[in-house]
Symmetry: C2
Subunit: 339 residues, 2 copies
């Protein structure tokens, strides 16, 4: 069976022995975007980072209904630290599954494998795509779809999709955030890690991720990579074709001059819109761009407001920072929803 | 180590118990394009199909220097037939490795696995990509590269690349055919099955496939899929970016109206050229289209000549059928090689 991941919730967030906030991005992302599905946090000796959620032992978390402990931290090597093992085994003993978004596979740690088998618990690696993904059919599906696309990687596609899905729901619409990367999958409680799918099945995975739905339902799909990124453009194109979006929103960071980790200049916004629409028309002739999402977090409020207004005039489209509530963001939401 | 496949040669072609020529395309492809690396053929009871090569037992083939038996047939289920097993085990006993391009993995057949271990032989599945493929760097490599691209899948990209690589060599140039699919890999004796690579590493695999070379060396790279195919466009884009071609040749079948297995109309040739050049410029600003390869096998010689001339006038480019030697093909080769 081809099945999109469906994670046991709510979560107990595990912070390991982390002393630097930068390594706990996953835990903070879950606190900020899935607060109602996090019962508390747990850590082992030496940890100084906290999400501010109640500190609960695995047993206490289980008693409050937790389904799984989520490893909410990464360490420099992307491995599962030896010092974490007693806490992780304790979680399995207490009746929790363990979920990881790390590169290292949980089942490759003999102690965890043995404990999970002994206690009948699951070890879930969210970077592992489902089996038996079909080749894409290209057949148009029912329901509405929005895809966030980017001028680069790591430029706000996940947060923009989360903010739009939330705004759609606040307006009373039926909307799902569809996750395509490990942090998004943890937040959503499911999804497909698109970058881990074998190339031949990339668009098929995107079709599987946002199935037929009722006519008024919105899937708000987390974009990946960029059509202009020399390493990841294939991921972006497979996701674009398989998502068949009715609407795209272009995500950009005004401070970014070069592609992440590469010497290539960023494409401009007009070029990004044009290329996504041209290629996206292949599976949805009605595709349109509703607007632009800008990360203005490094600007003063006044400077940010000026930049959004300037950019909006330049592209003839709503331009907003989705992390800043207000009129600009509401105009972007309006534009996404208009027919 | 990241290593591009390097297959043991020459081959003994195995035809199984096949009675229909259509199932022996791989064997015929090897006979036609790698004749000098095929010592003979072998089959088991009931086979009626022959490549016309000398019939040799595995032992005789080994004595003539064969390095491997190649399964040159497919059967409807894509599986390894039970009736083939005695012949395959005999090959291992005789000192040959076994190479397969089928979906089923050789090592999943217990009898073969045991025999290979016992005799110290290898079971090689050419659909398995190398391990530890790097993420693409996008850095420009030395040497010249040509990539065949298509309006659709299965439209002549492999044969066009093979014919061009041969023509380049006949003109005294240093040229390698770089294989990206299982049949091409068997013909070349190596390559990477691009459609089996995990999406994040697709462009990186293409970089690995055609490494830095001397300034006058040509890599002639077998294209995959089409930027316009709703299932496989991501494969095509990763291959385009990672290949960094100086030259593309567009492959088309004038009889094909709809994408293979899909209801989508084929893009026209101008659109195909434009999109490949636009996207390809990202990693090679000097990319250009040298011409068009048309499959005219279903036309009379006179009709084919007329069509090639008409199309050449329409696109302002050399248009040839690479399977037909002559002035049209020489003009296409000239255009590929001009600076």
């Amino acid at each position: 069976m081809s099945e999109v991941m469906d994670l046991p919730q709510p979560y107990l967030l595990f912070l390991g022995d982390t002393t630097e906030k930068g390594y706990a991005k996953t835990a903070f992302g879950l606190r900020d975007w899935a607060r109602d599905r996090c019962v508390g946090e747990w850590s082992c000796g030496g940890a100084t980072v906290t999400t501010g959620l109640p500190r609960l032992t695995p047993k206490e978390a289980r008693a409050r209904g937790a389904g799984a402990l989520v490893i909410g931290v990464a360490n420099p090597g992307g491995v599962i630290g030896d010092s974490w093992l007693p806490s992780l085994v304790e979680a399995l003993e207490s009746g929790l599954d363990i979920i990881s978004g790390m590169h290292a596979k949980l089942g490759d740690v003999p102690q965890l494998k043995a404990a999970a088998e002994h206690h009948g618990r699951r070890l879930i690696d969210v970077r592992t795509p489902p089996r038996n993904i079909p080749v894409a059919s290209g057949v148009k599906r029912t329901g509405k779809r929005l895809l966030t696309v980017g001028t680069d990687c790591a430029i706000g596609k996940k947060y923009t999709a989360l903010a739009l899905a939330r705004a759609f729901r606040e307006r009373g619409l039926d909307a799902d955030f569809r996750a395509t990367g490990q942090t998004g999958i943890l937040i959503a409680g499911g999804g497909i890690p698109m970058d881990a799918v074998v190339s031949d099945f990339e668009a098929g995975a995107a079709e599987l991720l946002s199935p037929n739905a009722s006519a008024q339902h919105w899937d708000v799909i987390e974009g990946q990579g960029s059509l202009f990124h020399p390493a990841y453009a294939g991921v972006s194109l497979g996701l674009l074709h398989g998502s068949q979006p009715d609407v795209i929103v272009v995500c950009h960071d005004p401070d970014r001059k070069y592609l992440l980790g590469q010497g290539f200049p960023l494409p401009d916004i007009a070029e990004t819109i044009d290329m996504n629409l041209r290629l996206g028309r292949r599976t949805n002739a009605a595709i349109r761009c509703a607007g632009v999402s800008l990360n203005t977090s490094r600007l003063s409020s006044a400077d940010a407001g000026r930049l959004l207004a300037e950019q909006s005039a330049q592209w003839g489209l709503p331009v907003a920072d989705p992390m800043v509530a207000g009129a600009a963001f509401e105009r972007l939401v309006d534009a996404c929803l208009e027919n």
